[in-house]
């Protein structure tokens, strides 16, 4: 009986914290939009001088806007304000969109993006916006932990079939510490710490946290996966049983 008021206060505190974080994230969008669009306009007005600098500014501000939206979705889900209804999603198109979204940031980091569809797939059961946000967040995480010594890196956005379903994820070469990244996120989630491991940036942990939360809401699990001698982060999605016209 005595625990109820404390428990109630904890819930209230959690909701209040989440609302504050959501408000902060929403407010960040405006200055990020100024930065992104001004940088884009500057490139158009003066494409020769400082073009690369403004391009970089635009890329990172646009990336930040996408991450803010992903984090907002993750916060909503972690607070149970939003439930994700699954629907048939064409997986090839979804992965193409993610690869397209990640291309500017990959270019900035000397990374090539490869879309690998090991087979012919139709639709999977997913939440289209959630899936895109989760995979984009993972792409950002991997682009941060990618092998730093290599001159040229490859980030693969891939799907392949297993007995359990369609494994969908992103993969890189090299010894990136992905298990630690996921563990860091889970610890952060459970004990409320932001990022307990110093070898990872705070943003990596947040990206994994968001993807983890979104996949949880889609009744699947984020895990470390391997695909063609590469290591990555992936989740298994179920094929849609809906008939398709070919």
């Amino acid at each position: 009986m005595k625990q109820a008021p404390n428990g109630g206060r904890q819930v209230a505190d959690h909701i209040s914290d989440t609302q504050m974080l959501c408000s902060i994230a929403e407010q960040l969008k405006a200055p990020l939009m100024y930065l992104a669009r001004q940088a884009e306009l500057a490139q158009q007005l003066n494409p020769v001088e400082s073009g690369a600098t403004f391009k970089s500014m635009q890329t990172h501000a646009d990336m930040a806007l996408r991450l803010v939206d992903s984090y907002l979705l993750g916060l909503d889900l972690s607070n149970r304000q939003v439930s994700l209804e699954l629907e048939p999603v064409p997986i090839a198109a979804a992965l193409y969109d993610v690869a397209h979204d990640l291309t500017p940031i990959a270019k900035q980091r000397n990374t090539d993006i490869e879309l690998v569809l090991a087979g012919k797939y139709g639709q999977v059961m997913a939440h289209p916006i959630g899936l895109r946000a989760a995979l984009y967040g993972l792409g950002f995480v991997l682009s941060e932990v990618i092998h730093p010594e290599k001159i040229r890196n490859t980030l693969r956005v891939a799907a392949h079939r297993t007995k359990g379903g369609i494994v969908t994820g992103l993969y890189i070469d090299g010894p990136a510490d992905l298990q630690t990244s996921i563990a860091a996120s889970k610890i952060s989630q459970n004990i409320g710490m932001r990022q307990p491991f110093t070898n990872l940036t705070a943003s990596s942990g947040a990206g994994v946290f968001v993807a983890n939360t979104i996949f949880d809401a889609m009744d699947t699990k984020l895990r470390v996966g391997r695909f063609k001698n590469q290591q990555g982060l992936a989740a298994t999605l179920q094929p849609s049983k809906q008939l398709q016209l070919v």
């Binding site: 405006a30 990020l32 992104a36 669009r37 306009l41 158009q44 996408r66 939206d69």
Partner: protein
């Protein structure tokens, strides 16, 4: 083409105006729905670019008023809004009925994409 830009954020508006003028369009810019109706009456725009989240009256209130005039039935309206498209999808049919031809989520829409959408339209013949 003459565009009526309804945008509550003046910093963003100045950027959009410059980008659209560079693309060869002329712009009338207002921040609120009431002013938008008056400006539409005076300037006869070929296209409207509308943010749904406005102060005082909302974008929806503007659309209802705007479409109530016979002369403005065929003027295309492009939503360029901070409201996520997933939230707007609930009102897809209603927005179509009110003549919204494109919906763009502002935080993820580049100037190039905005101009490209607008360039798909040709001026309304008078």
């Amino acid at each position: 083409m003459h565009i009526l830009l309804i945008e509550p954020d003046t910093v963003l508006a100045q950027i959009y105006i410059q980008a659209l003028e560079n693309a060869g369009h002329s712009i009338s810019f207002v921040r609120e729905a009431d002013a938008a109706i008056h400006t539409a009456d005076r300037k006869k725009p070929d296209l409207v670019v509308l943010e749904m989240q406005l102060t005082c009256h909302s974008g929806t209130a503007f659309l209802q008023e705007f479409r109530s005039y016979a002369d403005w039935q065929d003027i295309p309206v492009v939503l360029h809004t901070v409201i996520p498209l997933a939230k707007l999808s609930r009102f897809k049919d209603a927005l179509q009925e009110m003549g919204v031809t494109h919906q763009l989520y502002k935080p993820h829409t580049t100037l190039r994409q905005l101009v490209s959408v607008i360039n798909q339209y040709t001026p309304v013949s008078t």
